[in-house]
């Protein structure tokens, strides 16, 4: 404590206003003159009593945020009331003991001690020991300091300390508080009566400090709970696509909250042999874990401990057992100080691990953190599992959609063969006609030219048809491209033209001449149209009525493109109308009942709607709408 002394006032000169009761809220005037010792001591005792009374009356009511300033003010009052030079309220803990100053006040001539944490045991080993053992240190003049405190004596002498009183207060949890008073201007006699009252005062201070501390802890808990609640809310409702981002954010916020440097989410493989990094966040300057990196070889002891469902927790690397050799070496290399790894179980077995690392300061990982951090791991794991389930479902739908499409093409094979045959037949006849024209004595070149032109056109037509088929039969690959629904309708009609003839259906198109583009997956939308047209044919096949007509209309209004398919089928009842779009509902003899369900999910994924209405006379009209300009809908 680098305290300097410029002015020395002898003890005998100190005094007060003769035991008058001064209000404790105001600094007591220094009374350093003409007071005889006993009356002075009595006066000091009275002043301390006053302070104790005032403090005990107010300390419970003092708002937590004012505790700090209230203690500082009281400390000043004590110093002034007792005509000392400085007073300090501090906390020291651990081995070696570290001192943390809570509050200090001194006369202007005395320099303040450093407020940061300082190691007490290096410079003051005896002093620290005494206080930690709960022994008061009290000397009125330097020569009263015992011989064993030679180091302290030297230090105190160099600081100019003339007397010192330090009362320790041990509270639960091994933390020791200390109230100390010191003089620099002269030796000071600490009477027993005064010591008793100061102890009382010190206890009051400690109570107030403890109250502040418990409030801080409470506040810290509250913040932690708030953080968890926020992360929990985000994880519960975040769309599947944003789960990864939400987890990264959560890991970052926890790191920032705990004041550590890294947090990581890991996952065990299904057979629990491997442990993978799923997400990792680290503050700048600290290496995060690499995503998808398997750690079981680098960290075998951690892996096996976690697999058993046990927590890994250390403040210092050397707390790890000998078996954790790899972990110690790696820890040393990366410079980790403290680490906490919590296994997170899902239906019994630990499937996930949430880990925290401190690189700059040692962290105790209090026991009360663990259930909360485990909960955090569970939140992340749940969100990830939800995301995976959604992805699996989407994949399943894609495969289902693909399957349904391929099955539809299978049903269409005969018609498509016919449709392909037409251009092929024309090409063959044209080519052979051309050969014959060429073989004439005078080759008929104009005819040959015309035949060739037609051959090229038919070849293109066949090519386009094959391309359509290949596309429809190819595996699902979602793409968003600008599409004209008129073109799409025409392409699909080309595919079902023969099928319509086969079903004796008169297929009419009523397309609006100009249609704005919609963004969507060409393949999927073609599949929907194909499905709806084949359904209409099927519905009309079952009718005995001679009239079999399908009218396909396109329209555009309210920022949406509509395609309506009006058939003259046997129609459906209200129940069927409600249920026809649900999976596995079918009125067909053969058929899975997936076509319309798949179609509806496709249209919904495009931000559109698919529904059916009964016609006034006969059959139903199936409508689909697609919004305009939704380039980014998922």
């Amino acid at each position: 404590m680098p305290l300097h002394r410029e002015e020395t006032i002898p003890v005998s000169q100190q005094g007060t206003g003769g035991g008058e009761a001064l209000p404790a809220v105001q600094p007591l005037p220094l009374a350093r003159h003409d007071v005889d010792r006993p009356s002075l001591a009595t006066a000091y005792c009275q002043r301390v009593e006053m302070l104790v009374a005032t403090l005990s009356a107010t300390c419970r009511k003092t708002p937590v945020q004012e505790i700090e300033s209230s203690i500082a003010a009281s400390l000043r009052q004590v110093v002034e009331a007792l005509a000392c030079d400085c007073g300090m309220l501090a906390e020291f803990s651990g081995a070696p003991a570290t001192l943390r100053v809570h509050s200090w006040w001194g006369v202007p001539e005395v320099a303040a001690p450093p407020m940061s944490e300082a190691s007490l045991s290096t410079a003051f080993p005896w002093y620290a020991r005494q206080l930690q053992q709960g022994n008061m240190v009290c000397w009125s003049r330097l020569d009263e300091v015992p011989a064993e405190a030679s180091a302290e004596t030297q230090h105190w002498q160099s600081l100019g300390l003339q007397s010192l009183l330090a009362i320790p207060f041990t509270v639960a949890g091994g933390v020791v508080y200390m109230l100390s008073l010191a003089t620099f201007h002269a030796p000071y006699s600490w009477s027993e009566a005064l010591l008793g009252r100061l102890r009382l005062l010190g206890e009051l201070f400690v109570q107030v400090l403890l109250r502040q501390r418990s409030h801080e802890q409470l506040e810290q808990h509250r913040q932690f709970e708030t953080l968890l609640a926020e992360i929990s809310a985000v994880c519960a409702k975040v769309p599947a696509n944003d789960v990864d981002q939400a987890i990264n954010d959560g890991l970052r916020r926890v790191v920032e909250y705990l004041g550590i440097e890294r947090s990581t989410l890991l996952e065990f493989s299904a057979d629990q042999t491997e442990l993978y990094v799923i997400h990792s966040y680290a503050v700048p300057g600290i290496p995060p874990h690499i995503r998808a990196h398997a750690v079981q070889h680098e960290l075998p002891w951690y892996t096996s401990t976690l697999r058993r469902g046990e927590i890994v927790r250390f403040r210092r690397l050397d707390e790890l057992p000998e078996e954790a050799l790899c972990e110690k070496q790696l820890g040393k290399r990366v410079g980790i100080k403290s680490c906490l790894l919590i296994p997170v179980a899902m239906s019994g077995a630990p499937l996930w691990v949430i880990g925290f690392g401190a690189f700059r300061t040692e962290v105790d990982w209090p026991a009360e953190w663990i259930p909360r951090l485990r909960l955090l791991g569970e939140l992340f794991a749940n969100a990830l599992m939800r995301k995976r389930a959604e992805e699996a479902l989407r994949r399943l739908w894609h495969e289902l959609a693909h399957g349904a499409r391929v099955a539809m093409l299978g049903e269409l094979t005969a018609s498509l063969a016919h449709e392909l045959n037409q251009p092929l037949a024309a090409i063959l006849s044209n080519a052979q006609a051309a050969q014959r024209f060429l073989a004439r004595e005078t080759p008929a070149l104009v005819e040959v030219q015309e035949a060739l032109t037609d051959i090229v056109a038919d070849n293109r037509r066949a090519g386009q048809l094959i391309q359509q088929l290949c596309r429809l039969g190819s595996p699902p690959a979602l793409e968003r491209v600008p599409l004209n629904m008129n073109t799409l309708v025409q392409q699909v009609v080309q595919l079902v033209w023969s099928e319509a003839i086969e079903h004796q259906v008169k297929l009419t198109l009523e397309l609006v001449p100009v249609l704005p583009v919609v963004y969507g997956d060409r393949l999927q939308l073609q599949q929907v149209l194909l499905n709806l047209m084949l359904n209409a044919f099927e519905a009309m096949r079952q009718t005995t009525d001679q009239r079999r007509e399908l009218v396909v209309r396109t329209a555009y209004q309210d920022a949406a493109v509509t395609v309506a398919l009006q058939d003259t089928g046997r129609g459906v009842d209200e129940t069927t109308l409600q249920r026809m779009f649900t999976a596995f509902f079918t009125t067909k003899a053969k058929g899975m009942g997936l076509g319309l369900a798949v179609s509806r999910s496709i249209i919904a994924a495009h931000g559109g709607r698919l529904w059916a209405l009964p016609n006034t006379d006969q059959g139903i009209t199936v409508c689909l709408t697609l919004p305009l300009g939704k380039e980014a809908t998922a």
Binding site: E419, A425, A426, I427, L428, Q432, R436, E447, L507
Partner: protein
């Protein structure tokens, strides 16, 4: 075969196939009339000369097979060659039973198609010849008086004039006059020819 007189009628809903077939037929000097649908064909005044029909099975509204049925009921016996993108046995059996001369699968080789067309046209021509001959004979028969027809009916059975006279209650001389007149009207040079003529008409 006089090709200028014959005609091939093509009914197919596919415009490029119609053009191609028309071109192929033209390359061998055959003239064709093409129709996009059965309805269009039915509105057309059928040619007087021998003709055959190239007919697509699968067409919107009225299919090839339905058109064949319609033609049968309207007693228009035109040889039909069916064309189909994918032929099925029941379909071709049904067509052949109803009198189709051929059932071809698209795409088909020019040799096959043209042979079928020639074959059909030959049949058409034969039928046309028979038909025209019958018409001529029928016209000549129309010129006969009732008495002459009676005489004709008995002459062709090989009865002698005397027997005919007895049977019809007229003199043998009158029979001779009728006989000479009807031979002249029917433009028959001999009794044998007259018999053949009446066979054709009855047929």
């Amino acid at each position: 075969m006089n090709q200028a007189e014959v005609q091939v009628l093509v009914v197919d809903d596919d415009v490029s196939f119609r053009r191609a077939v028309e071109r192929l037929l033209a390359s061998v000097g055959l003239s064709a009339a093409t129709f996009a649908s059965a309805q269009e064909f039915l509105q057309y005044e059928l040619p007087a000369g021998p003709a055959c029909l190239l007919l697509d099975v699968r067409m919107p509204e009225i299919s090839g097979l339905e058109l064949q049925e319609l033609l049968t009921t309207t007693s228009h016996h035109m040889p039909i060659i069916f064309l189909t993108g994918y032929g099925t046995i029941p379909m071709s059996v049904r067509a052949m039973k109803a009198g189709a001369v051929d059932f071809l699968q698209k795409p088909c080789d020019d040799q096959v198609l043209l042979e079928a067309v020639y074959h059909a046209l030959e049949r058409a021509q034969q039928a046309w010849h028979t038909h025209t001959e019958q018409c001529t004979l029928h016209d000549r028969l129309e010129t006969l008086t009732p008495r002459e027809r009676e005489v004709l009916a008995l002459v062709v059975t090989g009865m002698l004039n005397k027997q005919i006279a007895d049977a019809l209650g007229m003199s043998e001389k009158t029979v001779k006059v009728h006989r000479a007149r009807l031979m002249q009207k029917m433009q028959a040079a001999s009794l044998a020819e007259l018999v053949r003529m009446t066979d054709k008409v009855d047929h």
